[in-house]
Symmetry: C2
C-alpha cells in the first residue's frame, strides 16, 4: 500500500539529535551531544522511600485513571511554589500537569495555531519545540539572539511583517542551545511587544533553577499582569527526566483548552509519578535537592571550561554559562556541520548549530556542548579529542 | 486579553463523560458511568516487587530520558506476544510504545489526516477517539452498528460518498460503548473495503483480552497481509490504567511517522513503568493475571445482568456481553439524555448514548452501564435506583 501522510507531518524527519543518540550505542564515543541531566542528579533513595509508601497505602488511586488536569495536590504545590518563590501566577492563571515540558509546548501550539500561522522564536532555538511547531504546519520565523537575548528591533520587525503571528517562543534563562540569559530590560521589552501586537508568549524555563553563578533574573511570566504569557517547565532537570512530569501555568482560558486537547492526547500524566513528585515535595522539599544539582553542574561546567581554555584558546570562542546544561562553541567563519562530523570521526559527539535553526538547512558556525551527562574523565578526554580536529 | 484559539479546537468542549467524573466527588452517587478497570485488577504486590528491583538496580536508566520508540525489551515482548498468541504482525510491521492507547489513536490521526479529511467510525463509538479526531478538524461519519458489527452496506456507501476518507476507526471486540463484537465475516468485509478504497483501518482493541464467555474472533489486524491496519491496545485494562502505557503495531512507514510526532509530543512514555511492565511480563507473564481479571468481570457482569433481569425486564432491553466492561441499555422510543438526567437525580450515574454519537447533538435511546468499577453492593443498589426512574 502507498501511504499518504498529512501535510503537517509529511516533510518531518527524526531530529538530528535523536539520530546522534542512536549512534551513541558505540561505547567508544564520548558524548557531549545529549541534553540529559546527570544520573547523579536523581534522588533515588528518597524517591524509593516515597514509592514504597504509595505501593503500600495508595495503590488503588496510583494505578487508576486520574483527572486530566493532574493530581490535585501536586498542582497546588506547584502553583504555590511558583507564586511564593518566583512571583509567577495571578488569580486568572491556572496550572496543569503535562507529560513533560515537551507536551506543554506541543499542546499550547495545538490550541493556539492554525496551519500557516507564524511562530516567532529565537535563532537558534530548542529543536524539540521547533519540531512541535512544525508538526502543526506553522511558519517559523527566527529572531537572532544577541548576548543579552533576542534582538528587540528584529522581533518588532518580525511581528510587523507577520500579521498571522500567534506565539512568541522564548527560553529566556540558560537558553538551549546558546546558553544565553535574556536581560531584564529585554524581557520587559518582549512582553510589551507581545501585548502591543496581541500575541501570546510561551516562556519555556526548564533550566532556570539550575543557576550556579550570578543573580536570578525575574521570569517574563512574573511580569505578566494581563494574561499574555504561558509558562512551561518540568521536573526533568530537577528530579527525573524519565518520569515525564512537567507543567504549564497560564491564563485559565488557555489552560482549559489545553485540558481538552490533553484529554484526547493521553488522558492524564502517569499518576504514580505525579503522586511521587507531590509526596517528595511534601516530605523533602525541592530546594535542598536542587542546590546539590547546582553544585554538581558548577563543578562539571567549570571543568569543561578550564579544559576548553587549555586546549582550544585562540581556536574557538565559547560561552561561560552561569547555569543550565550547555556551552556554545563558535569558530568564526567555521562550519558547525563540519566540526560535528569531524568530531564524531574522532570519537566525540557534539551537535551542530544548524540543527537549531528555525529555518532548516541554514548555516551555523557553532556547535553545542553538554557537560551534565559525561563523567569528569570523559569531559577531560572529550575536550582533548575535540581539540585534535582543529 | 481576548484569546483566539485554533479552528481545530475552538469548538471543542470537555467530554460529557469527563464532566460526569467531576460530579462523582459526591460520594452518595453510585457510578455506572466510568470506563475504569476494577481496582482489584491491579497486580500491586508483584508490581511492587518489580519496582523495588528497578530502584535498587536500574535507577540510572529508569529516571533518564529513553528513546521515543519505547523500552526495547518491552517492544520485543509485545511484538512477540501479539505474533504468537494472536497472529498479529508481519515483517513489515513495527511496534511502538505510546502513553496509553489514547496517544496511539491521537498520533495515528495526526500523521494521516489533514483538516477536512473524513474519518469513518462506528455509531456509537468511543468518545475519546471521536474527540481526538475532532481535534484535528476532521469530518466524522458514523456507520450504524448492527448486532454483528458495522453495516457493511452503509460502510461502502460512506466510502463512496466521502472520497477524502483517510481512516476507518473500529473497536471490533466488546465495543465501547455498545458492547458488540463484530463477526468474523464482517471483519473480513471491512478489511476488503478498506483495501478497495485505499483507506487505513485503525483497530482499537483495549478490551479484547477481557473475554469471559464465548469464543475469540480473530482481530482484523491478524487478517491484514497488505499493511492496511494499525492496531492499538494498552496495559490499561490488564495491568494499570494510571501508568499510561499502550502500544501500536502497524506498517513500518506509518509507525516511523508516529515516532516523529511522538518525539515532539512527549519525547517518550514514562520509562520506569515501561521497564516495570517488561519485567512483570518476564517474571510473571500476563496470561495468568488476565485470567483472574476475566473471572472478576464475569462475576460482576453476571451480577449486574441478573439485577437488570429482576428489576428492568420489560422496561428496557440490554446487551449480554461476553467480555469487556460495558452493558448497553436501550429503551425503545426512549431518550438516553433524559434517562441519564433522571438517574443522576436518583443518585446513580450512567452515560447517555448521545455522548457517543460521531455527529454531536444527535438523539439516542440508550445509555451505557459499567460493571467493572462499582462494588457488588453498589451494583445491586445502583440497579435498584435505576429501575425506580422507569
Amino acid at each position: 500500500m502507498d501511504y499518504i501522510f498529512s501535510d503537517k507531518v509529511s516533510g518531518m524527519k527524526p531530529s538530528a539529535i535523536r539520530e546522534i543518540f542512536k549512534s551513541l550505542t558505540d561505547k567508544s564515543i564520548i558524548s557531549f551531544a545529549a541534553g540529559n541531566p546527570s544520573p547523579l542528579s536523581f534522588p533515588v533513595e528518597q524517591m524509593h522511600a516515597v514509592a514504597d509508601r504509595i505501593f503500600a497505602e495508595e495503590a488503588a488511586s496510583a494505578f487508576q485513571y486520574g483527572i486530566t488536569e493532574g493530581y490535585p495536590r501536586l498542582r497546588e504545590q506547584i502553583a504555590h511554589r511558583l507564586k511564593t518563590k518566583f512571583g509567577i501566577g495571578t488569580d486568572n492563571d491556572e496550572t496543569i500537569i503535562t507529560t513533560g515540558g515537551q507536551q506543554g509546548i506541543d499542546l499550547t501550539a495545538k490550541v493556539l495555531c492554525n496551519e500557516g500561522d507564524t511562530v516567532i522564536c529565537e535563532n537558534p532555538s530548542f529543536i524539540g519545540a521547533l519540531n512541535a511547531f512544525r508538526s502543526y504546519n506553522t511558519e517559523l520565523v527566527g529572531v537572532d539572539l544577541e548576548p543579552d537575548g533576542m534582538s528587540i528591533e528584529s522581533l518588532e520587525n518580525a511581528l510587523k511583517t507577520h500579521p498571522r503571528t500567534k506565539l512568541i517562543y522564548v527560553i529566556p534563562t540558560f537558553q538551549n542551545p546558546a546558553g544565553i540569559t535574556t536581560s531584564y530590560a529585554k524581557r520587559k521589552a518582549i512582553l510589551e511587544l507581545a501585548e502591543k501586537y496581541g500575541v501570546i508568549i510561551l516562556e519555556d524555563n526548564p533550566y532556570g533553577e539550575l543557576r550556579f553563578a550570578g543573580e536570578d533574573v525575574p521570569t517574563i511570566k512574573s511580569l505578566d499582569k494581563n494574561g499574555t504569557v504561558v509558562y512551561c517547565s518540568s521536573f526533568s532537570k530537577i528530579m527525573s527526566a524519565g518520569m515525564r512530569v512537567g507543567f504549564l501555568c497560564g491564563p485559565k482560558e488557555i489552560i482549559q483548552k489545553v485540558v481538552v486537547v490533553k484529554q484526547v492526547n493521553d488522558v492524564h500524566t502517569n499518576q504514580f509519578f505525579q503522586m511521587l513528585a507531590s509526596h517528595f515535595i511534601e516530605e523533602y522539599g525541592l530546594d535542598g535537592h536542587i542546590k546539590k544539582i547546582c553544585e554538581l553542574y558548577r563543578h562539571k561546567c567549570s571543568l569543561m571550561l578550564s579544559e576548553l581554555d587549555k586546549n582550544l584558546a585562540g581556536k574557538a570562542v565559547f560561552t561561560r554559562p552561569e547555569g543550565g546544561l550547555f556551552i556554545w562553541l563558535t569558530v568564526k567563519g567555521g562550519d558547525g556541520d563540519d566540526i560535528a562530523r569531524r568530531a564524531i570521526a574522532n570519537k566525540v559527539a557534539v551537535v551542530t548549530g544548524s540543527s537549531f535553526n528555525p529555518v532548516q538547512g541554514g548555516h551555523s558556525d557553532s556547535v553545542r556542548l553538554n557537560y551534565s551527562t559525561p563523567s569528569d574523565e570523559q569531559i577531560v578526554e572529550g575536550v582533548k579529542r575535540l581539540s585534535q580536529i582543529f
